[in-house]
Subunit: 148 residues, 2 copies
């Protein structure tokens, strides 16, 4: 089984896109993460949903997490505004390096090894520098464990 | 908005369960992770799908990742057997500490702060020590960004 046999269609965002647009895409399609592209479609990063969540949190709470406990419900709901004016590039800024991208001809085992090493919820699959789609950890498990 | 307004039903596994069963559940329901319970239902950990992927990789590849590159396709497909005889507890062994569990009365902001700090794809929600379900990062974004 090769990456091209496992790949799924998946929305991607350009690195210059609005942060709010990326967050809405994750929520709408219930995705574990988004592939970030640059230069007309080349994948340059994977942005996990949990990282986007980091950016909906107001700065003063990010600096002092216990504050989240003492704010009332109404104040705690006002979080989406933190994304306004930011781009996808801003949300990637403090991500560790290591790009979860493989080629369509790479094997299931290479996919698994990369996903595990980077602790990434998905790997982007390219062919001729074009993004074909992604393989999520859940899909990899489903196909790897399928009775043969 | 409180955790109980965001919670979704979600399968969980007992910490003593078979590793293969947990992996199948992740694949079948296309989940970013599973809640692990003990003592009759108390959540004790969240097992991300990418961590389970780590355990379908043969030991000799985990010890020497570049090996994945040189194995042929047929050999690379034979990965599921690595889970045989292991339990969910075995897969949790080397996870970092920090338990993504909150109470039904905790706020959206507390959820976001915990999810971001632990880089967890989901948080388990409890009420009276009973697991109500989970909130995924994607669902949190969908609800936080919903027009009001």
């Amino acid at each position: 089984m090769l990456a091209r046999d496992l790949v799924e269609d998946h929305p991607s965002v350009d690195i210059g896109s609005d942060a709010l647009e990326a967050a809405r895409l994750l929520g709408e399609y219930h995705l574990p993460g988004l592939v970030v592209t640059a230069d007309g479609g080349r994948p340059v990063a994977v942005l996990p949903a949990s990282q986007v969540v980091r950016f909906v949190i107001p700065d003063y709470v990010r600096d002092d997490p216990p504050l989240a406990r003492v704010l009332n419900e109404k104040t705690a709901d006002r979080i989406a505004t933190e994304l306004a004016g930011r781009t996808v590039a801003d949300m990637l800024a403090d991500r560790p390096t290591g790009l979860p991208v493989l080629h369509a001809s790479d094997t299931l085992l290479e996919l698994a090894a990369l996903m595990a090493r980077l602790r990434s919820p998905l790997v982007a699959i390219v062919e001729d520098s074009r993004l074909l789609g992604v393989v999520t950890a859940a899909r990899l498990l489903a196909l790897a464990l399928r009775p043969t």
